[in-house]
Amino acid sequence: MYETNYTRAKDVSDAAKQLRAADDGKYISGGMTLLPTMKQRLAAPSDLIDLTYIKGMGDIKVSRKEVTIGANATHAEVATNAKLMKVCPSLCELASHIGDPHVRNRGTIGGSIANNDPAADYPSAMLALGATIVTNKRKIKADKFFTDLFETALAEDEFVKAVSFTAPKKGAYAKFPSPASRYAMAGVFVADHGGTKAKRDIRVGVTGASSGGVYRAKDMEKALAKSFSVDALNGCKVDANDMLSDIHGSSAYRANLVMVMAKRAVAAAS
């Protein structure tokens, strides 16, 4: 690891101030991606500004169906929050399968979505839940937040404060983990937000598979809006040309996995 300066931000405005003052500063939360990258000397930020000591930024608030999860909430906290479990168990389930116990007790939801690793789990949930990403500057719809592999709409000195969403009527996440890393090779989050009979609001977020990063499977959403059933997906196609390919999964295999996981998510949500 190259030498770096480490500071703990006192509050939201202090964090942004510190970053602007640094030569090449980086916000750090759980550090589950950034620290290994630095240890391998593949990243060399001049300053690390730690967001995890900002008071109140890790709270999980549930009011009826309205959910707000502070950016500093760890995966373990999301996985085990009793109130969240009542209104949106699918997100708890998703969090409970991220990494291993060490990762789940260090890694945060804010860090995960800000990093937007194409194989991370949370981004698919944010899309499917129609979440709003609350930053230190503004509110961004999830649909506009994830822009490309490891890219988000966040400006240089901007960071995620919280995510908020309305809990869906039902939802489920099905993940096929990479045998080696156990990151998602295909993870599909299906959420049924109700809506009118004529226009049912179904959202499907897909992670791990696409060469463009996390995306909404609009044809699946349409098909499920007509009939929320496993069979409804049979008419849908996942184009292998859009998929990632690596030593663990060819694009054809990943395309297959997206369909299988979508069906399993629908079955679990039904």
Partner: protein, 782 residues
């Protein structure tokens, strides 16, 4: 006997320190004035070194020296050698290319060391190594052994034309061909044995202490055989004379073969300590360096044919193998794909004619050498996939085809050197079939089918050659060393015992099992017995631990030394008790005259030996005996493994529903430790079958260079194993021990693959049977 003697499941003495974090590993050691080394490594798989610019690096803080390969060879440091001479079938010796500890002109794999920095801190060393500017002319690279043999392939070493190291054969080709002509059926398979990284938990490490006044070196290192390391470092690599070099392999966290060899870093650090004028240098591999530089295992491509008569009796076996040895010839790299491999191509079967041809090849990859099983897993994988494939093609039950061809009388001379001394293959097969409820498998297949899953069952009847090895025999086959073992038993005046052994424990539990021998012999409690190993200053000489040899060979040496101690102790007791030597019996810590109440306590005899006030006429004082043991033959552990899997056809995911291992290891000293060895071996074998795979891209970059991409077996990949053992003693050593360290890794891969191919109805499946590969095989079959 007693509670801590032979056959007792004594808890491991060493686990207290391991489980409480108190083990002392090389990287734990600190010495005043200690510097750190970092290596500059080639980012290219094949390149010519045009220039090394060390100016910037030399000026960086804390840097004591920046050294390169030309300086190293210029100081007379010798090239790294392969210690086993194998001749091609035309009689020519193997074509060994030069390998210096740091490259001088060419780099031949990604990770090849080019230069080293010695600095006051590890951070400084790493930073300065990064600042060393190497100008390369990149050359075309080749990573597959098959491609390396092709016309026009990039050439690695001037010594090895067409990258061919040797073209070797075993068995009678003409007789085998003649047998094939008479065949009623011939079965043919193409087999790839995947390439693996050993991944011991502790990465390699070396700590050199140089005493300038005495011109003496002490090397702490992660070695499975510190004496062999010292011999190589002094006699071949010329870093220090043998009497001026002490090598200590303290606690070592797993080896699996990969820590047998002396590596470039140890040589370079020894040389650099004196050259840089520092008191001590430490280097510890990062996990990334371990992937890039630890010797890899396996990597064979083979075609095999088996001929059957009309009664399904085997007439002959023919195998053609290309083995990838990587960029340089590692220490045992020539023996692994030849004498440790093709000599087992008769398996458990009576095969009158066997012929195998092996070509070994240089490629721009990490050197390949022995990894848990070493050659024997490669042979077993071919034999046992062949037997199951043949059973399917001949339309007979795989168990019955095997049983029909089992060797049933011993000794049995195979056509490929080995003479099996003892065994009972049918007993293991019966035990495994019973434990797996083989008879009712089809019912279970149906119930899986109802859930939408594909169920399959597969077996493997393995045999291996262990207890490596009779010195004269391996000498005649080209080995550069003898493979005996030594031991010394020191009985202290108070009756406690120290066993000094040339074996080295890096996880095997020797400190417990070796003590059990003494406990068994004299009835002493295990806590009164200390096992000393891994230090060339303490143990006179030894050959180390690999090839499942520590029980069969190492303990046999201890047994011989104990014989001598017992004889002397009895003589002393007979003298003191005024009895006949033949009437003395040692039992439960007492030395007694049989049939009388006359006795001495064990420690009274020991004390008498050292007081020397009343010893038999002419007897030397003391109670300390040594022995060397050279085995009469290899030993032949064998057994039957049955694996039952369920495959998810939608994703290709395989789950192991049941795994049965019925092994015959001969005499078992500690059944709990043996069970642990089987578990570990199975985990590695199943890891090879389902998960692990080294992948290089076409430019020679290692793609699977971290745990993000190299799939290690985890607990949830494995079932609870059903394990049983039988004890058919080997007549080849005094205890009847065959060895158990490698069986799991040798026998399990074909059982797993036979089960999956049974489930999916497609025999064309390559290891690892990853979800993607299994899914693709299912798609191909549809």
């Amino acid at each position: 006997m007693g509670k801590q003697g032979i056959g007792a499941p004594v808890l491991r003495k060493e686990d207290k320190r391991f489980l409480t974090g108190k083990g002392k590993y090389t990287d734990d050691m600190k010495i005043a004035g200690m510097h750190y080394a970092a290596f500059v490594r080639s980012p290219h798989a094949h390149a010519k070194i045009k220039k090394i610019n060390i100016k910037a690096a030399s000026k960086m803080p804390g840097v004591a020296a920046v050294l390169d390969g030309k300086q190293l060879t210029g100081d007379g440091i010798g090239n790294i050698i392969c210690g086993w001479m194998v001749h091609s079938k035309d009689g020519s010796p193997m074509n060994m290319g030069a390998w210096s500890a740091m490259a001088t002109e060419y780099v031949r794999y990604v990770g090849d060391a080019v230069a080293m920095v010695v600095a006051e801190t590890q951070e400084q060393a790493v930073a300065a190594a990064e600042a060393v500017d190497v100008d390369y002319k990149v050359l075309p690279a080749v990573v597959s052994a098959v491609d390396a043999l092709k016309k026009g392939a990039p050439q690695l070493h001037p010594e090895a034309k067409n990258n061919l190291i040797f073209d070797w054969e075993i068995g009678e080709e003409a007789a085998t061909d003649a047998a094939f002509k008479k065949a009623a059926n011939i079965v043919e398979i193409d087999i790839r044995n995947n390439r693996l990284v050993a991944n011991p938990m502790e990465p390699r490490s070396a700590l050199v202490q140089y005493d300038a006044a005495e011109d003496h070196y002490t090397l702490h290192t992660t070695s499975q055989n510190p004496h062999v390391a010292r011999l190589l470092l002094s006699a071949f690599y010329q870093v220090a004379p043998e009497h001026k070099l002490r090598v200590i392999a303290p606690d070592v966290g797993g080896g699996f073969g990969t820590k047998i060899y002396v590596y470039p870093e140890e040589i370079a650090c020894l040389w650099a300590a004196k050259r840089a004028g520092v008191e001590a240098i430490k280097w510890t591999s990062t996990r990334s360096e371990a992937f890039l530089t630890d010797a890899h295992g396996r990597d064979h491509v083979s075609t095999a044919k088996m001929a059957f008569d009309k009664n399904n009796k085997i007439l002959g076996m023919k195998v053609d193998t290309i083995a990838n040895l990587g960029a340089y010839m590692s220490l045992f790299s020539s023996a692994t794909p030849t004498y440790l491999y093709a000599t087992l191509l008769s398996g458990q079967y009576n095969i009158p004619n066997v012929h195998a041809n092996v070509r070994t090849v240089y490629t721009n990859t990490v050197p390949v050498d022995a990894y848990r099983g070493a050659g024997r897993p490669e042979a077993t994988y071919i034999m046992e996939r062949m037997m199951t494939t043949a059973a399917r093609q001949l339309g007979v039950d795989p168990a019955e085809l095997r049983r029909k061809n089992f060797i049933t009388s011993f000794p049995h001379q195979t056509p490929v050197i080995m003479c099996y001394d003892a065994g009972d293959f049918g007993v293991s097969l019966d035990a495994a079939m019973k434990a797996s409820d083989y008879a009712n498998f089809e019912k279970r297949r149906k119930s899986s089918k109802r859930k939408g899953k594909l169920r399959g069952i597969g077996m493997s009847c393995y045999i291996e050659a262990c207890g490596i090895a009779p010195s004269a025999a391996v000498g005649s086959l080209g080995a550069g060393v003898g493979l005996w073992e030594s031991a010394e038993v020191r009985v202290n005046p108070v009756g406690t015992v120290e066993i000094l052994t040339g074996s080295h424990s890096h996880g095997q539990g020797h400190e417990t099992t070796f003590a059990q021998l003494v406990s068994d012999r004299f009835g002493l409690p295990a806590e009164n017995i200390q096992v000393v190993h891994g230090d060339t200053d303490k143990v006179q000489f030894g050959m180390g631990t690999y090839g499942s040899r520590s029980g069969a060979v190492g303990m046999s040496a201890i047994e011989k030394a104990l014989d001598k101690v017992e004889v002397k102790a009895k003589k002393i007791a007979a003298h003191v008790l005024e009895a006949s030597e033949g009437d003395i019996e040692i039992k439960d810590g007492e030395v007694m005259v049989k049939g009388t109440d006359k006795k001495l306590l064990w420690h009274e005899v020991c004390l008498a030996a050292y007081m020397a006030h009343n010893l038999p006429e002419g007897m030397e004082p003391g109670l300390k005996e040594g022995a060397f043991y050279d085995p009469a033959n290899f030993t032949f552990p064998a057994g039957c493994y049955i694996c039952e899997v369920e495959v998810d056809p939608d994703t290709g995911v395989t789950t192991i529903e049941q795994f049965v291992a019925a092994d015959d290891f001969g005499k078992i000293i500690n059944p709990m430790i043996v069970e642990g060895q089987v578990h570990g071996g199975l985990a590695q074998g199943i890891g090879q079958a389902l998960l692990e795979n080294v992948v290089y891209d076409d430019e020679g970059q290692l793609i699977s260079a971290s745990y993000m991409d190299y799939t290690m077996p985890r607990a949830d990949d494995l079932p609870n194993f059903k394990i049983s053992t039988t004890e058919t003693l080997t007549p080849s050593n005094p205890l009847g021990i065959k060895g158990c360290g490698e069986a799991g890794a040798i026998g399990s891969p074909p059982a797993v693959i036979n089960a999956i191919t049974d489930a999916i109805g497609n025999n064309d499946l390559t290891m690892p049977a990853s979800p993607q590969n299994v899914w693709a095989a299912i798609q191909a079959a549809e």
